[in-house]
């Protein structure tokens, strides 16, 4: 036996060598590297997108999968250091509360429900803003504040609990009763952390607040003011020689909040309804219509705009929230459901409008619709602000991730990653969370990969990307 072993040992050793040496190695092909960038200390500046906001809330799971956290994980493979985020503690994991799919209708439509917040510790001095569990660490590197606009960053007391209102997400990052502005906070963070790399994704709320309110709240930010403040914060971030990425504002008209309720189909459905002959006869008599006019009597879908009520066209974008309102019984004395009115061709607009919507008002309220003029205004301002972001970024030699161009592509074609299709569709598209605006963890991972591509191209780096398929889309029960 021993002899057999002795005689066969060299042969077995050789066989082992051949088979062992057979494993190909691609790990250095190409080798991961930081290139000209230094990722040792990274900070992230921005709004809800930076904070990991999703499903209309900030909660622990979303925070842990924020795009800065994903990026930091990849940076660590090329010399990046630790990355501290102001995550809600386990005990307050539901944070501000968030949306979830509670159930499905028999037809398979998801029914949304609200997960109650457990990160709220009280009510602010204004009597309406909830106070959130404070982050007490002094080492925060994710400076994302949901809701913040560039227009807000220089505002003192933006996170100060006061009777006039404040931002609770900023308030929880600061010490109690800290009146500093966001820019001052960032300045302090830069001085303390001495970042070598940053991401800045501010600007979305400078158009989103307007868009998501159907043009009824928060005006579009002024470009001159935007430029001044954006330049300021960029100077603050680059003061210590840090490299970084600035990120543009995606066109909000591409997100499910505005694309899920199909305007053209709603118009079609409303128009398809037959006007009862008795009503048509009453209208013809009451308005003294000509036979030609009488022949055009039909239902139409009406919306309220800044210039009065009018019939909707496919260019008007209905908000996700409108689906719970359109075609529900009117809250006024109007006999038709909300949004539905009578259209008669050739009738004086005032008369037609009056008929359809004004007395008593029945057109879909403006806050549920971003009408064509508002869409154009949002897009024009987005372009203006994006040009400022690109100019400021380029003037500092920073990498620029044009998220607008990227998301326009996603809106058109979706994005397939590792054989898994993703699109900008609500719920089924995997990329957007249940609020229809903010990404899912999958969406944030896709964004992180795109940012990495830009970093690699700008700084000659080879930061590895993530596998976005390992991050979830919408959470299904």
């Amino acid at each position: 036996m021993n002899l057999i072993f002795k005689r066969s040992a060299p042969f077995l050793a050789l066989l082992g060598l051949v088979l062992g040496g057979c494993q190909p190695d691609l790990n250095d092909d190409p080798q991961s590297s930081a290139g000209q960038a230094d990722f040792s200390r990274y900070i992230a500046v921005g709004n809800s997108l930076t904070a990991g906001f999703g499903d209309n809330g900030v909660y622990r799971e979303g925070q842990l999968q924020s795009f800065p956290a994903i990026l930091a994980g990849q940076f660590q493979q090329v010399g990046g250091g630790n990355f501290v985020q102001p995550v809600f503690p386990e005990a307050n994991a539901n944070g501000s509360g968030f949306l979830r799919i509670a159930s499905f209708t028999p037809a398979g439509t998801p029914v949304l429900g609200q997960v109650a917040p457990n990160g709220v510790v009280g009510l602010g001095a204004d009597g309406r803003t909830p106070l959130l569990v404070r982050f007490t660490g002094s080492d925060n590197q994710n400076l994302g504040v949901p809701g913040i606009r560039v227009a807000d960053i220089a505002t003192p007391g933006y996170g100060f609990n006061n009777p006039l209102g404040f931002n609770p997400y900023f308030e929880r990052l600061l010490a109690a009763n800290d009146p500093r502005s966001y820019t001052q906070y960032v300045q302090e963070r830069v001085a303390t952390i001495k970042p070598t790399f940053f991401t800045n994704w501010l600007g979305n709320n400078d158009v989103l607040g307007y868009a998501s309110s159907g043009g009824t709240a928060a005006p579009l930010s002024d470009p001159a003011d935007f430029r001044a403040k954006y330049t300021d914060i960029t100077n603050v971030l680059t003061a210590g020689g840090a490299k970084g990425v600035v990120i543009t504002i995606p066109n909000v008209a591409n997100v499910p909040l505005f694309t899920t309720v199909p305007t053209a189909a709603v118009i079609g459905q409303v128009r398809a309804g037959a006007v009862p002959p008795t009503l048509a006869a009453q209208l013809t008599a009451g308005l003294s219509l000509t036979p030609a006019q009488a022949a055009t009597i039909r239902f139409g879908f009406f919306i309220e705009t800044a210039t009065g009520a009018r019939e909707a066209t496919a260019a008007d974008l209905l908000l996700l929230t409108s689906s719970g309102v359109i075609n529900t019984p009117s809250t006024t004395a109007n006999p038709f459901p909300v949004g539905v009115g009578i259209s008669i061709t050739g009738l004086a607009p005032a008369q037609a409008g009056g008929l359809a919507a004004v007395a008593p008002p029945n057109a879909l309220p403006s806050r549920f619709v971003l009408d064509a003029a508002e869409v154009a205004a949002v897009q024009a301002r987005t372009t203006e602000l994006n040009n400022i972001i690109k100019e400021v970024g380029q003037s500092k030699g920073l990498a620029v991730f044009d998220a607008n161009t990227f998301f326009n592509g996603v809106a058109r074609n979706g994005i397939v990653v590792n054989g898994v299709g993703n699109s900008a569709a609500f719920v089924s598209g995997n990329l957007f969370s249940l609020d229809g605006v903010h990404p899912t963890p999958r969406g944030y991972a896709v964004i992180a990969n795109e940012i990495i591509k830009v970093i690699n191209a700008t700084y000659g780096a080879a930061v590895p990307g993530v596998d976005p398929t390992t991050y979830r889309g919408v959470q299904f029960p």
Binding site: L19, L26, D29, G465, V474, F476
Partner: protein, 422 residues
């Protein structure tokens, strides 16, 4: 009857053929002697495996004989996603393709009859858990066992022809992949046996002198058809289970035709050199389609009632060269090489055939223990060259159902065979 029993027993042991032994999912391991010589043999009449490589050459064999051989394939793959990151490997699987040949004929007669069992196509790959391409494939086992009765006839002392009936007796496919769900990952397994298929293997062999011989052979296509294979899904999110109702599938995989040309040169009694070219009609493999059913009617599994994935293979050539040197009556040394061109176009590489052009080197040794009984050992090494496909390649070809990245594979195949001539 005895032969049949033997074959059935053989079929039971056959563990199938391995990953990646010739372009696509072809497995070109004719016999231990041929493997040692780079896989040549179409233009030679050295051994019983002629009935696979060129049935026309069988009539020129002078002895009755039985030979069996078995190989073990060790495939080692590296995959790196296009975005970078750590490389992925295969879980180590070893498969043992098998060959068996026997032929009988009157001494100095013109006729010779034979029977063979071989595995010309197959694949076994198991990727590591969680790898980026898991939605395309996590594991595949593809087996095809051919049984071929053959007759060969020497028209003259120099010219012989032969033909065999190729029977796809046992074939199976088992394919497993991960199912992407919004917030979970499910699993699907497709498992089926192929229906019996028939084809023909025919050849002609011409040996104008002691020093030269040529051969031509053709093996026809057999469609490996699975009807009513089992679909098993697990881990599907409750709300989405209505999309996974099919429990049977139909699929057809073409096992393509090959045309083979070979040249044999025997400068001395001791030295034999072979040159072969194989042409495989891979263009038959256009797409891989699974039709899902329940109770005989089309039924949804995933996105629809069928899944179709582009293959669009191209016809491919393999060039082989090899030689045998008889040191003495007992000992023969063999050496060979081959260049195998991939049928898979850029942007069409799939995890089940992570293919590219291959460089193949082989060596072998034969030893006659007695006048009638010999043993052959062979070793083949295949380097499947590095292949990268980008996301843009996939988008441009409409092949985004697979994964972008770089593949590189090495395959080592030691083997041993026994032969008995009488």
């Amino acid at each position: 009857m005895k032969v049949k029993t033997l074959l059935l027993a053989g079929g039971a042991i056959l563990v199938g053929a391995s990953s990646a032994n010739a372009g696509g999912f072809q497995v070109y391991l004719p016999s231990q002697q041929s493997i040692g010589m780079g896989g040549v043999g179409v233009g030679l009449s050295m051994e019983q495996a002629a009935q696979f490589m060129n049935p026309g050459a069988m009539a020129m064999l002078r002895q009755n004989g039985v030979q069996v051989g078995v190989s073990a394939t060790f495939a080692r793959l590296a995959f790196r996603p296009i975005a970078g990151g750590e490389q992925r490997q295969l879980e180590n699987t070893t498969v043992t393709p098998f060959n068996l040949y026997a032929s009988f004929g009157p001494k100095e007669g013109k006729f010779r009859a034979g029977i063979s069992v071989y595995t010309p196509y197959g694949s076994t790959l198991k990727y590591e858990d969680g790898w980026e391409g898991r939605f395309a494939l996590s594991e595949i086992t593809l087996r095809a066992i051919y049984v071929q009765p053959t007759v060969s006839y020497a028209l003259t002392d120099q010219l012989s022809v032969g033909a065999g009936l190729m029977i796809l007796t046992t074939g199976s496919v088992n394919l497993q992949r991960v199912v992407p769900l919004p917030s979970a990952e499910g699993k699907i397994e497709l498992d089926g046996k192929t229906k019996t298929g028939f084809g023909v293997n025919a050849g002609i062999f011409f040996k104008p002198s002691d020093k030269l011989s040529v051969g031509l052979s053709y093996r026809s296509k057999i469609d490996a058809k699975v009807r009513g294979g089992d679909v098993t899904v697990s881990g599907i999110t409750p709300a989405l289970q209505g999309r996974f109702v099919g429990d049977k599938f139909d699929a057809t995989l073409p096992l393509p035709a090959t045309f083979n040309v070979g040249l044999g040169i025997m400068p001395t009694d001791k030295l034999t050199i072979g040159l072969d070219v194989n042409f495989t009609q891979w263009s038959e493999y256009r797409s891989l389609r699974f039709d899902f059913k329940k109770d005989g009617a089309p039924a949804q599994v995933g996105a629809g009632t069928f899944s179709e994935s582009k293959r669009s293979y191209e016809d491919a050539l393999t060039f082989r060269v090899g030689g045998q040197y008889k040191v003495n009556d007992k000992l023969a040394l063999r050496l060979g090489g081959a260049y195998d061109m991939t049928p898979v176009k850029d942007g069409y590489v799939t995890p089940e055939t992570p293919d590219n052009n291959r460089i193949i080197a082989t060596a072998g040794v034969g030893y006659n223990i007695t006048e009638n009984f010999g043993v052959d050992a062979s070793f083949m090494f295949q380097a499947i060259l590095k292949r990268t496909q980008t996301e843009a390649d996939l988008l441009n070809n409409g092949t985004t159902d697979r994964v972008a990245g770089t593949y590189r594979t090495n395959v080592s195949i030691p083997g041993i065979g026994l032969r008995y001539n009488f």
